[in-house]
Symmetry: C2
Subunit: 276 residues, 2 copies
């Protein structure tokens, strides 16, 4: 079975972002990303540090803003950052406090700075075929398929998972590439009978080992978006690595690094579009 | 084969809208709908007259605004109507002039008045699970299934057509009802093999007779959203009426009347939400 690693692609995208950022910095306006964290979740804090480190290497300034008192404080922070001409990209980091809605709060992110496509207005533009930043994870799936030369048009794609951050947007990005797309979820009847029909199977359910050998056709290309904590503290995907398929993206080292790289490229693009 | 007519449901929805409108009128603020027409298309003019007549019967004022000089004139009209507190609902009627984009122009419709869900921001809210008006045709498909007692959860739904006004939003509405949803289109390989898997088949392709006997499983419920001009000037659907299925919605008299009724109910709801 072929592996579909993402690190080399990620390095190429980061390098594009860095070149872009260097050009902007030379013109006196280094791209600037603001990450708003609403909770003190440790896994999220680790992820934010990794974004900040990758941004620094690419010449992108990254501010982390803690807004932990209330949803109102988060909204106020997003409004201030949206209005600040020195900030080019804004990420609202999950998890949010109990009861808060990402889609609702992210409606306060200026669409031009919405580098992770979290504002429903960005999603609507994406679905309607207008220019918008896609959620980086969803875009990373498509970029990984392209990088490995997997054709999408007229293929049967099955997406497992219907989240607003991955499942739904990736379904639209692949539909836009002329795939025939099926969306499955926890209420799908006989999941294996549906996923076995996939030429390309995209799994973004957030359940370790959900997809086993019985779920995958032998000639399928499988993209594993899952990042679950494994028994020994390492990341594991949603796909059991013992499946027999034509190709499978690894976890870690598949979609994940491409996602972070695309976020950085979005920030550089947003900075360029804002005129610095 | 069972028929799934929409006229009785449409009458019930219109009657709700009329009761709603009467209450608002008694409080001094009859609901008001504005329809902006950008071209002189005869079929469209006929449809606008039928909306205006249905609105009048339901106690909803309907203004038709001709904005035919340019896209800029359309945008200016939508902005003015969005800002006008006396207007509660706005429809931008298609077809638009060559080269104009519905999604782009409809971005100028205030989301609270976007009674046909044409603004991409409304679509994004719908996809993200936030309150928004759905495109009336897409909502009419779901209302017709509900009215005839067709269960949707965990059923395999196949949608033929990926337009922003029907295919994509109806896919999301049914996904939200826990269906497993596949979206097909003109680039789908072996369409019949996909549509035959549908428990519920929704056809919104805009091609008369696209779906024939080979495309439909004998126990499927088929909703025909097509409204094509037939040889003798009558409307014909996308589904050949000779298909053998468990149930089929007629054209005309299926989804169409429910769509118009829902538009009116949306206007009454928008008026109530605006505070008159």
């Amino acid at each position: 079975m072929r592996s579909l690693p993402g690190r080399q692609l990620a390095a190429a995208i980061r390098s594009e972002a860095a070149d872009f950022a260097a050009g902007l910095a030379a013109a006196g306006a280094a791209p600037r990303l603001a990450v708003v964290t609403a909770t003190a979740d440790p896994a999220s804090a680790w992820y934010v540090r990794s974004i900040a480190a990758a941004a620094a290497k690419a010449g992108i300034v990254c501010d982390v803003i803690e807004a932990r008192a209330s949803s109102a404080e988060v909204s106020a922070a997003l409004s201030a950052l949206s209005a600040d001409p020195a900030v080019h990209g804004i990420i609202l980091q999950t998890p949010l406090p109990e009861g808060a809605s990402l889609a609702e709060l992210a409606g306060g992110i200026d669409v031009g700075k919405d580098v992770d496509g979290a504002n429903p207005a960005s999603l609507g533009r994406l679905v309607a075929g207008l220019p918008a930043f896609a959620p980086a994870t969803a875009e990373a799936v498509v970029a990984l398929l392209d990088h490995h030369g997997v054709a999408v048009a007229s293929q049967r794609v099955v997406v497992v998972g219907r989240s607003v951050v991955v499942g739904k947007p990736v379904a639209h990005l692949l539909l836009d590439r002329d795939a025939t797309v099926t969306i499955c979820h926890s209420r799908t009847r006989d999941l294996a009978s549906v996923t076995r029909q996939a030429d390309i199977l995209v799994v973004a359910a957030g359940r370790a080992g959900l997809i086993g050998p019985a779920h995958v056709a032998p000639d399928a290309v499988v993209i594993d978006v899952g990042t679950n904590p494994g028994p020994d503290g390492r990341l594991v995907g949603d796909v059991d690595p013992s499946v027999a398929a034509a190709a499978l993206s690894p976890v870690p080292g598949g979609v994940g690094p491409v996602t972070t790289a695309l976020l950085l490229r979005h920030v550089a693009e947003a900075a360029a579009a804002s005129g610095g």
